[in-house]
Subunit: 316 residues, 2 copies
């Protein structure tokens, strides 16, 4: 079914139509992708801020404070909240994200939760699609909130102009290892819950680790915050603005744009190739027969995959 | 370069040769894949245990205790530790994993750390390749340790026969949302650091959430532990054994085998398709030219990806 005039409605910022388009994209309604293509030339205007950190670090509270400040400045704000919800049963559980709902009646704030489950093309692709729609709608700032440590964070970097990493004082030794990884991702490090014991120690640790980096490494700012009392939140917005101005004036902004484009292209090639291979398998011998042979060790998965690819590419 | 006789050496359990093969696989030395294919028919003997949980939950301590007990039982143990290390600078930082090194002089324990960065085929594929090698070497038990919440956990499920999820008492409200996702993944829930306040409350919360599930949901065991003092670790091994026996006697074991095979096939098709597409791009117009056009919004990434695919498949 073609959604008549939806591209124009989305460009005009109509939330209901945009939300429906996002759902159609998730459901892989073919026409939806064509609409996304039509929206793409109208994107690039939004500033994308990634906020990441461990569960319990207070990310959602920080995102909530950012929304409030950007709204006060008259900006339109989009939020993509990637939920640590069940990969199988669906239903994103909002938890303390409910706090954010005070913005729900504000037409200029568009919050979209994304379950981590069931994204055939990967979470990264779904996130990118939503960002594309929000960008085309005319949002000035888009905040992407992710949880966890690992590939998700890397995806945030390739998505965001500015990456904010939230840590809390004293979460044990293992956190040290994580911080090392985090340092390379973050543009801004927020030590939240800084009214707790060990906050200064955490700041000192992080500073030391930053100092140990190679010469010429990018500038990373460290801030202390008590987000629940809105402490440090004005400073955070200032730090984001400062980083944004640096991006504008440097080749870094262009480099990130290219990185983002490359990530998207690779994601999509991977997804499309798999989609077509699966379609091919279902139409022919069947996926389940091949899977069964792998499980029985009659064929190894590497040879099976090569076989599928050869068929996909017309047996060269 | 062909590594003469390496398949035989790996099958004989030679650690040095196996480690070298793993590195060659990571570096995508073509001959290495052929060796992996040759090893595949010799796999399926290992029991795979996934251990996952948030940073600071004490996963590594638990894995350490598991290794010790399996060694006492005379079993050969492989460990794949997926490190929350830097996605860019390389070098996995071991942190408190150093404790595990007491097993380093034990020939029957093979520990392999895996950085989360730079896996073209995805972390899941690299993990699977290592498991295949360890399995073929004759390890009885392979423990896969992952950090974070999200896609990693799902991958652990599709890899492991038994999934152990580690939580700690009172990590704030947001943890509630995560637990809901975790319940569907876990076969065994370990409330570690159970000498802390709130441990009983956490157990009660988890039990309640388990009770709320639909009828016919799988059995999930909850254990309390103080891993640092080895408390609850004998019970954990017993719970793993119990689950293992259930798998043997039920269709669940077969279902998981098929699920694992399907995941591997899809992962590999995706990877190979991307590899070939990238090779194609580099030989022709060039990847960078296309990426630049996307960044400049001269072409949208969806159309660009379709174009790459069409070329890959011989312009049907």
């Amino acid at each position: 079914m073609v959604a008549v005039g939806r591209v124009e409605d989305v460009l005009a910022g109509t939330v209901v139509r945009a939300a429906r388009l996002m759902r159609d994209l998730d459901d892989q309604i073919p026409g939806a992708l064509e609409e996304l293509k039509a929206l793409y030339p109208h994107t690039g205007g939004a500033f994308i801020v990634g906020v990441t950190g461990n569960p319990g670090s207070g990310k959602s509270t920080i995102v909530d404070c950012l929304i409030a400040q950007y709204r006060e400045a008259g900006l339109r704000v989009g939020v993509v909240a990637i939920d640590p919800s069940s990969p199988y049963s669906g239903g994103a559980i909002l938890g303390d994200r409910i706090r954010m709902q005070r913005h729900a009646t504000d037409d200029s704030v568009f919050i979209r939760s994304l379950a981590t489950r069931g994204h055939l093309g990967g979470l990264s692709r779904s996130t990118q699609d939503i960002i594309t729609v929000m960008d085309a709608m005319g949002h000035d700032v888009i905040i992407v909130e992710t949880v966890g440590v690992g590939q998700d964070e890397v995806d945030v970097v390739s998505t965001a102009h500015t990456s904010v990493v939230v840590v809390v004082p004293g979460l044990g030794d293992e956190i040290q290892a994580i911080k090392a990884g985090i340092l390379e991702i973050a543009d801004i490090l927020v030590v939240n819950k800084a009214d707790r014991d060990g906050a200064d120690r955490t700041v000192a640790d992080l500073s030391m680790m930053l100092d140990l980096r190679a010469k010429g490494a990018k500038t990373v700012r460290i801030l202390k915050a008590v987000a629940i009392k809105e402490g440090g939140m004005v400073e955070l917005v200032e730090a984001v603005d400062l980083h944004r101005r640096e991006l504008d004036s440097e080749t870094e902004g262009r480099r990130r744009g290219l990185e983002r484009a490359e990530t998207r292209l690779k994601d999509l090639v991977r997804t499309l190739a798999l989609e077509r291979a699966l379609a091919l398998l279902e139409s022919g011998d069947g996926l389940s027969a091949l899977v069964e042979r792998i499980a029985e060790r009659e064929i190894d998965p590497y040879s099976a995959a090569e076989q599928v690819l050869a068929e996909l590419m017309g047996n060269p």
